[in-house]
């Protein structure tokens, strides 16, 4: 399986094209290099076409549905009953705060009405479900000697007079629904705005970014800066706003991409000292990014906060692989070979090796397909597309381009000189000399010991790794972001938390007013209230108790679910008039909603356990308790899926990487040498997550897969060369010494360029991108050092004898020997 051979007899120095046999090389090489213009033309057309798609069809978005695990039973139950669970799904909460007074200010109320009306008319809003002090569905109920009375909290004859303000104050005091809409300090009130995930007419998905911008412009900016009326502050939370803010963060990622590109360019230039070749590498990698974005746009993918990271990875991988090509070409040109011939030699040597390395990267992406989150699947697909494109742009287009532009001859000579110097232990060579010690017993034992200590220590720390989001508010964004400040205000001033966990109680039509169903719903609510972290629960049963008491003069002795069907019917209907969210229109689906103190994984686990036990014990054909809905219900499902996905993904990525290594090395001992540094880095990465207060969540799932999938490149470079040297009869120490001399710089270069590609994410306004950036940089850099230090040390113990098998990369090694 030799890639090609680098014997000077086969690849002689050919200063002039006349002396080169253009029919030499593989059929692919002849096809591409004897038709260089056609290749260039095809790439140009592809760039134009895909550029057109990129320019016209690129969409930034992320939908609620795409971020949740579609196959988890909780999510299936939720999606199956979504239409009947109004108020539990996708809603935003707009809080209007009067900074100069309280809500009982006629001007405040007038503006509140405008805002409420404006929100109702905003496209994407489920109009009938909007709740504010101004919507007629928000009612009060009271008992008098004459019986039962109720009306909208905002009376029909409200006119802003002191009397009608006093009336409003009284109405709010006797309406629990209204009280939940008023801040504890009475300085603000809330508008609850349920959203439709799809437009009922066009079935088009809600565009969160434009919706969020509408909120910012026609609500926040407009009313916070209004000249007349009291000074208002608007606080907005909810998934749609969060996603909108994430989208804005996405748009900023373009800046970070430019920064990453500049850093990578600088690194390449520092490496080659050749403007021409640096430009060729960067341009080819940029073309890869352009094709990738164009192709995913053309295929109908949307760019979400996850898949926006793919171009960074594609560019970083492209640059680091491209830089390797330069090495060969620079040296051939330095020796006096014509640039076209040098390009063909490079292609000859590196195409299959590069292909294998890119396939290894693709493995890292591909295993993400097993994760049941559409956003992660999209990430896997779009990243795989990107890697596939790199095969064309960096393995074909790049050498073809180089055959035209060539490299600077001074840089080419410098390259040869540096290599000679390093082999004599000068410059970087000192570092490589130092690393050679690790093939000696004394050092190897120490390194293994240190690694073992780190592994055990890291493992102990990583036992504290939590699942799920650990911070209050939206962990996707930074704590000081406007969204999280709004969230903190609302959490601090409103009694009902925004973390809702709902169990769906499903009955036959009209079954929601069945005595048994209500009694069971009431029991479930009570059971859930016992769980630490549950603040309170709300269901139709609670409201039925209150209305029933209302029927009996408001006596607390009648706060009960009556057995009398007429009483329950009345109480149920009245409850649904007061709060239509308590059951669907058919009266067959009612949620039992638990309001949680936080959304930490332990809290969710406790609630899930209590609810599951209850559901298992109490579900019968005519009364089914289905988990789960509400944002916390979905989050619980997400956590469970993430926990499982984390395990399976680690398993798959390691199996895949080990298989790949085995194919490459044909030796289980070598596989062990390659994989142990990756395992150590994975453990340390989890420990780092604990130290940085990160939990395992959707966003951290891809990190280890990518870190391991891409990180194995280092071991592939090092070990393949080392094994080839050992196979040719050198001792381990000599083999590693030679390996370092010729590949050490490449390993360092790959590590640094990959790190540069992702480190800029750390400044992203999106917290999870920053987390991913930090973790991936850590993975790439630590993997690099792990490989340089651990590979020789492990080799001392495992590979001291000469391996028998023929490694796949012997061609590359022979080139290096030469």
């Amino acid at each position: 399986m030799a890639v090609g051979t680098n014997n000077p007899d086969v690849m002689p120095v050919v200063p002039s094209l006349k002396d080169f046999d253009s029919s030499s090389g593989s059929w692919l090489e002849r096809l591409l290099f004897n038709n260089r213009l056609a290749v260039m033309l095809v790439c140009l057309i592809a760039t134009a076409v895909l550029g057109y798609f990129l320019a016209t069809q690129l969409v930034l978005n992320a939908s609620f549905e795409k971020m949740i695990p579609q196959n988890h039973p909780f999510v299936k139950n939720y999606l199956a009953n979504q239409a009947d669970l109004r108020g539990l799904g996708n809603a935003i909460r707009v809080v209007v705060e009067n900074t100069e007074g309280d809500i009982y200010d006629p001007k405040y109320l007038a503006t509140l009405r405008e805002i409420s009306d404006e929100l109702i008319l905003t496209p994407g809003v489920d109009r009938a479900g909007v709740k504010s002090l101004w919507t007629p569905a928000v009612r009060w109920v009271e008992v008098t000697e004459e019986g039962f009375q109720g009306d909208p909290v905002m009376a029909d004859d409200y006119d802003g007079s002191p009397q009608s303000i006093a009336q409003l104050r009284q109405n709010i005091a006797r309406s629990s629904t209204a009280q939940n809409l008023v801040g504890n300090n009475e300085k603000s009130s809330m508008i609850v705005v349920p959203l439709l995930d799809r437009d009922p007419q066009t079935m088009a998905r809600l565009d969160y970014r434009s919706f969020s911008h509408t909120l910012e412009e026609s609500i926040r900016t407009k009313y916070e800066n209004a000249m007349d009326g009291p000074k208002l502050k608007i606080h907005i939370i909810g998934f749609a706003k969060l996603v909108g803010d994430l989208m804005d963060g996405l748009a900023q990622m373009a800046t970070y991409f430019v920064a990453s590109a500049l850093i990578a360019t600088a690194i390449i230039f520092a490496y080659t000292r050749c403007v021409r070749s640096t430009l060729v590498v960067v341009v080819c990698s940029l073309i890869a990014v352009l094709w990738q974005l164009g192709l995913v746009s053309a295929l109908g993918f949307e760019i979400d906060p996850f898949s926006v990271l793919v171009p960074f990875l594609v560019f970083a991988i492209g640059v680091s692989h491209g830089a390797q090509k330069m090495n060969g070409i620079l040296q051939d040109v330095g020796r006096g070979t014509h640039r076209l011939v040098a390009a063909r030699y490079t292609f000859r040597r590196l195409f299959l090796a590069g292909l294998t390395a890119l396939l290894a990267d693709a493995v890292g992406f591909a295993v993400l397909m097993v994760i049941d989150f559409p956003v992660i699947k999209d990430l896997a697909i779009t990243a795989s597309i990107g890697v596939a494109i790199l095969i064309v742009t960096n393995l074909v287009l790049l050498p073809v381009l180089l055959s035209y532009v060539g490299v600077s001859s001074t840089a080419a000579e410098r390259s040869l000189r540096l290599e000679r110097e390093e082999s004599r232990g000068k410059g970087f060579g000192k570092f490589w000399l130092f690393l050679e010690h690790f093939t000696e017993r004394r050092w190897a034992s120490k390194v293994i010991l240190v690694a073992a200590v780190l592994a055990v220590g890291g493992f102990v720390v990583s036992l504290n790794l939590k699942i799920g989001d650990l911070d209050a508010g939206a962990p996707e964004l930074r704590p000081e972001s406007r969204y999280n400040r709004d969230n903190a205000y609302i959490t601090g001033n409103y009694s009902l938390s925004s973390d809702q966990f709902a169990v769906i109680l499903k009955t036959p039509p009209n079954g929601c007013v069945d005595y048994k169903a209500l009694t069971e719903a009431d029991r479930l609510g009570w059971q859930l209230r016992q769980v630490p972290g549950v603040q309170t629960t709300v269901s139709l049963a609670d409201s039925v108790r209150v209305v029933t008491a209302g029927l009996y003069d408001g006596s607390s002795k009648w706060l009960t679910v009556a057995r009398n069907q007429e009483t329950v019917n009345f109480a149920g209907n009245q409850s649904l008039i007061n709060n239509p969210d308590l059951a669907n229109k058919e009266c067959s689906i009612m949620p039992v909603v638990a309001y949680l103190a936080d959304h930490r994984a332990e809290t969710l686990e406790r609630v899930v356990q209590a609810a599951s036990e209850f559901a298992a014990e109490h579900s019968v054909d005519e009364r089914q308790f289905l988990l789960a809905a509400g944002n916390s219900g979905i989050e619980a499902a997400t956590n469970i899926t993430v926990r499982e996905a984390n395990r399976t993904m680690l398993l798959y990525v390691y199996v895949a990487v080990m298989a790949l290594c085995y194919i490459a090395f044909r030796s289980w001992r070598a596989v062990l040498v390659a994989v142990v540094p990756l395992v150590l880095t994975s453990i340390l990465c989890e420990a780092l997550m604990v130290l940085l207060g990160m939990g395992i969540k959707v966003a951290t799932l891809p990190v280890i897969a990518l870190g391991v999938g891409i990180g194995v490149d280092y071991a592939l470079y090092l070990l393949s060369a080392q094994l080839a040297y050992q196979r040719s009869g050198l001792s381990l120490a000599m083999a590693y010494k030679k390996t370092l001399q010729f590949t050490g710089r490449i390993v360092a270069l790959v590590g640094v360029t990959l790190g540069a590609g992702v480190v800029t994410w750390a400044w992203s306004p999106i917290k999870f991108q920053a987390d991913m950036g930090i973790l991936l940089t850590f993975m790439f850099i630590v993997n690099m050092f792990g490989a340089l230090v651990l590979v020789p040390a492990l080799s001392y113990f495992l590979l001291s004898t000469k391996p028998v098998a023929t490694p796949i990369f012997d061609g590359e090694a022979e080139r290096l020997v030469a």
Binding site: K516, T519, Q530, D553, S555, S556, K557, A616
Partner: protein
């Protein structure tokens, strides 16, 4: 396409659920013991009574709790039902009764620590039917007897949907439980047998009884539409001494000298002549007065749904509002020692110190 997918998902979920769920029958609150919960003392409680020095409270889901340290700490009693309870009364420090929804009557002989069910709504109708089938009681005519038999049949048919709302025992043998639609049972053997007393009440419209209580001077029942009944000891019948008031009375209290009834919208009426004449008492409140008690120094305390506490040192002639540290909705009240009251309500137990 989407719709069909959704249907398919839905039906597979349904199939899964049907297969996964063992078919457990519905457990009736009357058959399901109350569960212990740390939240019980902070959740709805409707009634409070003194059992000697002990405080006993009762409320929703069969919750009965007792405290031996003036309300600081509470223990939850063993209760065989999880019905919502409405009233509790102890004639002695050891023996007590509690009543509630589902027609349940519970009794304790250990000061409220454990309870047994003496009667429930499923049996009421049958007891009534048997009793009135061979009824030879005095004071009613044939038409009234027919009505009683019809009521007995209705109670038997409708099952356990009628709650008792109040209970009173004069001694550890003699007591009464009252509730909706003229519901009244009497016992003379400590609850071993219960006798329907539907025929002994002057309640032709079969209104609800909210409260039964002995004041110094007589045994009274208060109820809907200004109804007040008083036991005629000789005739062993409850005779009407009603107030001219259309609203519901929630309860009554009184001293040797007077009886006080109270209810909706701060309405309080008082009589010094055993109910012959009633006088409206000004309270200044517009919310329902829900409970009352006599303090150890003889003052009358009233509590409101909003959490107001009104005190009277002149047998109910006048009331003054007593400022409270924390106003929580109150349903019932009892004295704790000489200087405090225990209030119970929708938010559980609330101990309030009392000024002299």
């Amino acid at each position: 396409m989407k719709f069909r997918e959704r249907i398919r998902t839905l039906s597979s979920v349904l199939v899964l659920m049907t297969v996964a769920c063992p078919s457990w029958a519905f457990q009736d609150p009357l058959d399901r013991p109350a569960t212990k919960s740390a939240l019980a003392q902070r959740s709805l409680l409707n009634a409070v009574a003194r059992a000697g020095a002990r405080l006993v409270v009762a409320g929703q889901r069969g919750h009965i709790l007792y405290s031996d340290d003036a309300g600081k700490t509470w223990m939850q009693a063993e209760v065989p039902v999880s019905s919502d309870l409405t009233a509790v009364h102890f004639p002695t420090s050891q023996k007590g009764w509690a009543v509630g929804h589902d027609g349940v009557v519970l009794a304790t002989t250990d000061g409220g620590e454990s309870w047994v069910k003496q009667l429930d709504g499923r049996a009421l109708g049958q007891v009534m039917q048997e009793y009135y089938a061979s009824f030879e009681g005095k004071g009613i005519d044939a038409r009234q007897l027919e009505e009683l038999r019809a009521a007995a049949l209705r109670f038997a048919e409708e099952g356990a949907d009628k709650p008792f709302l109040s209970v009173w025992f004069d001694s550890e043998t003699d007591g009464y439980a009252v509730g909706v639609f003229n519901l009244i049972f009497q016992t003379s053997d400590g609850g071993k047998t219960w006798t329907p007393w539907f025929d002994r009440t002057e309640n032709p419209e079969q209104l609800h009884f909210s409260s039964i209580q002995r004041t110094g001077e007589g045994l009274y029942i208060a109820g809907e539409r200004g109804m007040v009944l008083k036991l005629d000891k000789e005739a062993q019948r409850f005779r009407s001494v009603s107030v001219d008031y259309p609203g519901t009375f929630f309860g009554l209290t009184g001293s040797e000298q007077s009886v006080v009834v109270f209810g909706l919208r701060g309405n309080v009426f008082r009589s010094e002549d055993g109910g012959a004449q009633w006088h409206k008492v000004t309270t200044g409140l517009n919310v329902t007065i829900t409970g009352a008690t006599l303090t150890e120094d003889g003052r009358i305390a009233l509590v409101s749904q909003r959490g107001d506490v009104l005190m009277s040192a002149d047998n109910g002639r006048s009331f003054t509002s007593s400022p409270m540290a924390q106003a929580l909705p109150a349903s019932a009240v009892a004295p704790v020692g000489t200087h405090a009251l225990v209030l119970v309500g929708t938010r559980g137990v609330n101990i309030q110190p009392l000024k002299k």
